[in-house]
């Protein structure tokens, strides 16, 4: 059974909730309402794609940064030099 959202949000609400929607921070009910709006509204769909591309770019550019191996080893050495946990 497909539940039809009782109220579809308008453009202002959709844009306000857009990032929370893209970051999966909304309740399932709100997700459905935002999705229903975006699917039928071209300007909001284009906003949604744009912000999704922006967020993907940020993750892509920053998530590749990792703790350098020497630093990781230094930390492990320091941890092993610590007195045993009580």
């Amino acid at each position: 059974m497909t539940k039809v959202p009782s109220t579809v949000v308008d453009c202002d609400e959709a844009l306000e909730l857009l990032h929370e929607y893209l970051k999966q921070q909304l309740t399932p009910e709100l997700v459905e309402r935002v999705r229903a709006h975006i699917e039928m509204c071209r300007p909001c769909l284009s906003h949604s794609r744009f912000e999704a591309n922006y967020l993907r770019m940020l993750e892509h550019k920053l998530k590749s940064i990792t703790c350098p191996t020497e630093s990781r080893e230094r930390i492990l050495t320091a941890l092993h030099g610590e007195p045993p946990l009580s």
């Binding site: 929370e20 922006y54 920053l62 940064i65 703790c67």
Partner: protein, 194 residues
């Protein structure tokens, strides 16, 4: 492989198992907080040692990542923040928050524009944000912490998390627009209107 120790969580093994997988996250957040990879390494090492010493206070099954990041942030605030001049936050009124969208939003559904941006420039733009905007942006948009996690970590209401995030994203996009115009990826508005 030895069976996973469940009776006693206060073991070096349980620390390595639960805390160390978050080392990269800690390092990325430390890089953006300090703006300096070598200071970030020191901050992460200090964080891990403090966390190890306090490991008996960590409740198994709770959020190790949030716990580590809280220690990291407190260490940063206590020691590092005063040593470094605060970056001048971008004046939100001076940037057009929708500038990039207006240029490429309609014509670039695949987001090729964002692919052109130079990694270093994006990092610099983030590092120019005032600390209260930078930290929420990094925690949410890069490390994917939930608003609730960020709220409890920074001890600010969820509504404040949202409003800071909103401004942080707009300020960042405004800066990226300036960068893109300077690099010739997009033309400034005046020329676009001709």
């Amino acid at each position: 492989m030895p069976p996973i120790e469940t009776a006693d969580q206060s073991t070096p093994e349980s620390f390595e198992r639960e805390a160390l997988p978050h080392l990269d996250t800690c390092f990325r957040v430390a890089c953006r907080l300090t703006g300096d990879p070598s200071r970030a390494e020191d901050l992460v090492q200090e964080t891990m040692l403090k966390a190890f010493r306090a490991w008996h206070r960590f409740r198994p099954g709770t959020n190790a990542r949030g716990w580590l990041l809280t220690i990291l942030r407190n260490s940063f605030i206590n020691q590092y923040r005063k040593q470094k001049r605060e970056p001048i936050g971008v004046d939100i009124d001076a940037v057009d928050p929708m500038a990039i969208y207006r240029r490429v939003g309609q014509t670039d559904p695949e987001g090729e524009f964002f692919g052109k941006l130079i990694d270093r420039k994006v990092l610099d733009a983030i590092d120019k944000l005032a600390i209260e905007f930078r930290e929420v942006l990094v925690l949410s948009d890069i490390e994917d912490l939930s608003y609730a996690e960020i709220s409890s970590m920074l001890q600010i209401p969820i509504g404040t998390v949202k409003s800071r995030l909103f401004r942080a994203r707009r300020q960042l996009q405004g800066q990226l627009y300036d960068h893109a115009v300077a690099m010739g990826y997009i033309s400034p508005r005046e020329r676009q209107l001709q």
